[in-house]
Amino acid sequence: MPSPNSQESINNVRQMPSAEVGEFIKKVVKRVHFVPDRYDIELELAAHIEDSTLLLQDQDELSQEDAEKAALDRMGDAKEIGTALNRQHNPFIGYMWYFSRILVVLLCILLVLQSIPILLLSGWTILFDHPIGDIPKESYVRHVKPNELIKLDTRRIRITDVIQTEDGSLHVLYSSYNLSFSSLHGWSFSGLGNFEDEDGEGYFGGSGRGTAGLYNRSRRSLENFPFDKDMLIVKYDYGGRNVRLEIPLGEVTNND
């Protein structure tokens, strides 16, 4: 099928078809119900008739007008040609192909436009935004990397670091993502449940922050966690989901 550029060049080289040829072509394409193909068929027919006319002019030494008439006679019945071409250019398949192509392009555009901000945000989080940077390293008195994975429905939460600082704050750092991709359109995971020490004492006060995107990193900071406690217990109990995780906190060092 000629491209628009090649069609232009054909138009430049070929002569304008005469009224008779135009009428013949019109009769043929009228029977082709897949409209987007009509233009290409018109060009092909016009080129074919013109070639035939030139050949007849050369071979039989006919005038332009007679040669064109003879060429049209050789083409046959316009209606029959049109019907045959319509079978070849099946309108049902043609339109299925035509509109499915448009839909693919539109969906691709929509996906790209929607994905770019999410991917940029997620990329920024993964590369540059780690809440561990909120905690000055020189203030660490103990630091463990539990690397514990919590599975909550389709959400995956990994407790990556637990850091206690000299002011007594215990910082729990975790990353999370949802296999259902709900963070793209719904809610992100804000809490990690309740925190206790090995004696069942609960810790509620504190602060926290989380990043946005497909992959989140979060920090939950608990105030005044005693230095003499050895274990942090994470408890999640809501909606029939129960998680209990015991994280040994290790030795306190550099605590003057």
């Binding site: 099946n90 398949i93 043609g94 299925m96 192909w97 499915s100 192509r101 839909l103 693919v104 969906l107 691709c108 929509l110 996906l111 929607q114 994905s115 999410i118 909550l152 429905d153 389709t154 959400r155 949802n178 259902s180 991709f181 709900s182 793209l184 359109h185 719904g186 809610w187 809501y238 909606g239 029939g240 989901r241």
Partner: protein, 185 residues
């Protein structure tokens, strides 16, 4: 490649792309799937659907899960899709003859709850309209003990329910008041 093969290839591509677009936007073909998917992402449910009803562009689901109840709206989108976005459940306080909750959205007020006292046959709520007049709305239809009352709010969108709510009464079959409360929850 023939045109029919190209069309088949395009339809396969459309299926994949549509799946991704639906995932990106939280869209489902079924409102029940949208409800349960949003509950799952809240780590709640799947709840038992007691009753559903359409109001405006949304389908509301009266549901129960463990000791919680909820009435979550799922919005219709582009005619064929249902958009993710249900809410949490609220713990049913069984010591109350009638436990209720509410939500508002886009000018609609929804009042719903569960009867813990089986003798309750009618629930009546008094609310204020924009002119400050009291309206009495009631329901005597229960779906496995759950009920709802929905009405279009006449007070501005950002009004609090406490500004609208006047009182709540529940009656038994003989018309005696079983529960009377000036509080919402």
């Amino acid at each position: 490649m023939t045109r029919s093969k190209k069309a088949i290839r395009n339809f396969l591509l459309i299926a994949v792309l549509l799946f991704l677009v639906m995932k990106l936007n939280g869209l489902y073909f079924s409102p029940v799937n949208a409800l349960h998917a949003s509950e799952r992402d809240l780590h709640f449910g799947p709840s038992e659907i007691v009753h559903s009803f359409d109001h405006g562009n949304s389908r509301y689901f009266l549901t129960r899960y463990e000791d919680m109840i909820s009435c979550s709206p799922i919005d219709r989108f582009l005619g064929v899709f249902w958009r993710y976005g249900a809410g949490h459940g609220t713990n049913n306080l069984k010591e109350r003859p009638l436990f209720t909750s509410y939500r508002s959205r886009e000018g609609d007020w929804l009042f719903y709850g569960i009867r813990n006292d089986a003798s309750i046959t009618r629930v009546e709520i008094e609310v204020l309209n924009a002119e400050g007049e009291t309206l009495i709305l009631s329901s005597d239809t229960f779906y496995e003990n759950m009920f709802y009352i929905i009405w279009e709010g006449e007070i501005e969108d950002d009004a609090l329910f406490s500004q609208v709510f006047v009182g709540l009464k529940a009656y038994d079959g003989k018309g005696a008041v079983v529960y009377d409360s000036d509080f919402i929850i």
